[in-house]
């Protein structure tokens, strides 16, 4: 028996499972007062998914407003609120980019969770009217040698690769880091970037009385039902009730067809509004489209093509089946729209139309099962100002200064610590992961991993291009979330700048524990405040992002992990600066100032298993000076590599290993500080004209230290140590293959149905 609007009005006292659906009693009461009656089952399903933390941002909204309040930026064409922000990158080109999490699904089913994470963010970018041109992935796992990491990591990597490769999107970079805090809660953050002409920007709104609502792409099935409210807002607790939420299965082939069909549809100007179906499926797409438009919307649910005929209307509304989109199309253009879909073998169905008035109505078997004001579903959900407290342990943590840890003193000890840092899972060669990703497809990848930033050409004639980096050091954020978020912003900014690009805009994915814990909420608020203040100081807009809360195992939250993405523009990608040393006899210069800063450092973590003290000082003015200097250096320097985790030791090793060119260096002052401090706003460059670089640096106000000269097959520090490149490479490149390289580890990591591998 279907629960209709009529029935709901007549049976106000029927019991409803609002609590099981994740609603609080006051939220349920609010729904009743909005509707003036109890909701129908289908309405309850819609409200519960749309008011979940994942869809409504109810705990984070009050903080995220700070991003919207940043000063106006001329580069920003579309700001926060749409599926992804849009930035002007010059010559009439617009770029849209966004990073999003798929953490919990990836823990449950690593391959599909990661794959559908990529699929989801790609649809967000497509929805803006852009052709997706590249992806990146930022990954966190528990200890590298933990058994569950061996279960999760191979599947996640295969899933990121399986989906992105099959879509024909080059993977141009990302992060792979390990820490105990992610053992029961890995992080999978995926970024997609797309490009279009200014005039091609599309928005998600339903306008125009009588316009048709077309659902296209995959059929709707029973997968991922309740994924939003259940998967994304509950903790994995061994002692709680076993939740085996249904997982979504990705079909990258269908998504590839959807991309091509959409781009043809955009080019022929066949849509007035468009929205992808992600979390909360049709509930989200219809209510958001209707809410953003001027009129209402009516949907006839019987017309939705199903994969499983036994689905209830509420399930159809909640289903998160992948690879679906929803478009608003003028009646006269419907035939042309359907013809493009037929060409690409994409199923497309008219399921409703834009109505006058301001209601979203849904019928099923001729009866009305939904009749709601769409804004109350999509945009006027609950908003919480959650209580916050500074973590009780923070003072003690900050007082436990890493500077007091025993330091290496002899050359042999320094060398051992150097090798330990660069061969640690965080510092080691990531090739085992990144070679599972296609970085060449589309033929425009100028730089990809292991470079600091990915660089993609967007115009083959003018050579205009973009640079992107993703960074998210959670150790710093644990020690000080305000500074940590700024340090991550600074690192991503620096990574883009060392490639020779001009930083332009910011996206972010905020991965935190439960917002219902006041200490987590404080960390979250501090990180947002830090990021907003940092963006203000650097003059960059935040174009969008994603929040992932409830990342915890039992009641232990992950370290706060704000992953920050920075987009930059290259007027001519031929002038990009690569990261590795290629030629002998060039002068190695360190730009920036080194202080004794070890709090949250890779050295403290790897050598002592220690996390304490304060993170490095944030000096965004210095970052800006460094960035502006680097932007003027192409032509003068032949390589540039930033300093971050692992300090100079890590950067020197990576620069030398890239092409197997060593260097002879002499470091003044305290050698340990020189090698392992993680002071920000620094980079190493090599040049054949050090006078010119010094002059430019002096003009920019950036300190320069000469470190030595490239060449030879060792990294030699005068009078102290000598590391053979071969030995260094052996240590650096053995780590991940030893942990994950055996074929038997891959067993079971790729499920039965969906194995695009070629």
């Amino acid at each position: 028996m279907i629960d209709t609007v009529e029935l709901a009005a007549k049976s106000p006292d029927d019991e409803q499972p609002w609590a099981e659906l994740g609603l609080k009693s006051d939220e349920y009461d609010r729904i009743k007062s909005i509707l003036g009656r109890r909701p129908t089952t289908a309405e309850l399903a819609m409200y519960s998914v749309m008011w979940s933390e994942h869809c409504s941002y109810k705990s984070s909204k009050v903080h995220l407003r700070q991003f919207g309040d940043l000063p106006h930026s001329d580069a920003l064409l579309v700001g926060i609120g749409e599926n992804a922000g849009v930035v002007d990158v010059g010559d009439g080109y617009a770029v849209t980019f966004k990073v999003e999490s798929h953490n919990h699904p990836s823990y449950v089913e690593p391959y599909q969770g990661a794959a559908t994470g990529v699929g989801g963010i790609v649809r967000d970018i497509l929805t803006m009217g852009a052709r997706p041109i590249a992806v990146m992935d930022s990954l966190r796992f528990g200890r590298a040698d933990a058994p569950d990491t061996a279960r999760v990591l191979p599947g996640v990597v295969a899933g990121v690769g399986g989906y992105g490769n099959c879509l024909g999107l080059p993977n141009i970079g990302g992060e792979l880091l390990f820490d105990d805090c992610y053992a029961g809660n890995p992080l999978v953050n995926a970024l997609c970037v797309g490009v279009m002409r200014h005039e091609d920007v599309r928005l998600a709104k339903a306008e125009g009385l009588g316009n048709k609502v077309i659902l296209f792409g995959a059929r709707t099935g029973g997968d991922g039902i309740g994924g939003v409210s259940v998967l994304a807002s509950e903790t994995f607790d061994e002692h709680g009730p076993a939740k085996r939420p249904s997982v979504q299965v990705g079909d990258p082939f269908t998504e590839k067809l959807l991309i091509e069909a959409c781009l043809e549809i955009f080019a022929a100007d066949l849509v007035t509004g468009i929205q992808d179906l992600g979390g909360a499926g049709l509930s989200c797409a219809t209510s958001e489209l209707a809410s953003a438009g001027t009129g209402g919307m009516h949907v006839d649910l019987d017309t939705v093509p199903l994969r499983d005929s036994t689905l209830t209307p509420a399930e159809i509304l909640m289903s998160e089946s992948q690879e679906r989109m929803c478009a608003i199309v003028e009646p006269a253009k419907v035939d042309a729209f359907l013809a493009v879909c037929r060409k690409w073998d994409v199923l497309a169905t008219v399921i409703g139309e834009v109505t006058d008035g301001d209601r979203l109505t849904v019928d099923w078997h001729g009866e009305r099962i939904v009749d709601v004001p769409p804004r109350t579903v999509a945009h006027e959900g609950p908003v919480y100002e959650r209580p916050m407290t500074r973590p009780a342990d923070l003072d003690a943590l900050q007082a436990d200064d890493a500077a007091r840890l025993p330091r290496p003193s002899t050359g042999a000890e320094l060398q051992a610590h150097w090798l330990a840092v660069v061969s640690s899972p965080d510092g080691a060669d990531k090739t085992w992961v990144t070679e599972q990703y296609d970085r060449y497809v589309r033929g425009n990848t100028v730089l990809a991993q292991p470079e600091d930033a990915g660089v993609v050409r967007i115009d083959e004639q003018s050579h205009r291009g973009i640079a992107l980096a993703l960074d998210g050091n959670a150790r710093y954020a644990r020690l000080d979330p305000y500074a940590g978020a700024q340090l991550n912003l600074a690192e991503a900014y620096r990574n883009v700048a060392v490639s020779g690009a001009k930083p332009l805009a910011v996206t972010n994915c905020l991965n935190f524990g439960s917002p219902e814990e006041p200490e987590v909420m404080w960390q979250f608020a501090e990180a947002v405040r830090g990021l907003a203040d940092g963006c203000r100081e650097l003059g960059l807009p935040v174009t969008g992002g994603n929040v992932s809360l409830y990342n915890q195992t039992g009641d232990v939250p992950i370290n706060p992990t704000p992953v920050i993405g920075v987009l930059g523009v290259h007027e001519d990608v031929r002038r990009r600066i690569p990261g590795g040393w290629r030629a002998d006899g060039e002068t190695v210069l360190l730009l920036g100032e080194t202080r004794a800063e070890f709090g949250g450092s890779a050295w403290a973590s790897v050598v002592h298993g220690h996390l304490g003290g304060k993170p490095p000082v944030v000096d965004l003015a210095a970052e800006r000076r460094l960035g502006e200097l680097l932007a003027g250096l192409p032509g003068l320097v032949s390589s540039a590599h930033d300093l971050a985790d692992g300090g100079l030791a890590q950067t020197l090793a990576e620069s030398a290993l890239r092409y197997g060119v060593g260097a002879r260096l002499h470091l003044d002052g305290d050698l340990f500080t020189a090698l392992f401090s993680e002071s920000a706003a620094r980079a190493v460059v090599t040049t054949g004209d050090s006078d010119a670089v010094r002059t430019a640096a002096a003009a920019a106000g950036v300190p320069v230290t000469e470190l030595g000269t490239t060449g030879g097959d060792t990294l030699t520090v005068d009078g102290l140590l000598e590391l053979g490149i071969t030995e260094l490479r052996a240590a650096w490149s053995a780590t991940l293959p030893a942990l994950f390289g055996a074929p038997e580890i891959a067993v079971g990591s790729v499920p039965a149905g969906t194995v695009p591998t070629s």
């Binding site: 099935g221 997982v247 269908t254 149905g753 969906t754």
Partner: protein
């Protein structure tokens, strides 16, 4: 022992869909549906321990979140 691993019926099977589409284009219109899974043939030394084999099938060869397992023990 033969172990067949198939996606649970509620999980979408893009491979099966693609095969079905190809069959349609090739004129095999009488095929109404296709599901694709994995097929394992295991040879066991000595007498197989049924419980062990079941555990292998259900935990290693399949992911119970999305897949079902069928075991066919044969003694020959």
């Amino acid at each position: 022992m033969v172990v067949d691993v198939v996606l649970k019926p509620e999980i979408s099977d893009p491979q099966g869909q693609a095969v079905l589409g190809a069959l349609g284009r090739l004129g095999h219109g009488s095929i109404a549906s296709v599901r694709q899974g994995k097929h394992f043939v295991l040879e066991v030394d000595g007498t197989p321990d049924e419980a062990e084999l079941k555990q292998i099938g259900e935990t290693l060869l399949a992911n119970p979140v999305i897949e079902d397992v069928e075991l066919h023990l044969s003694t020959d």
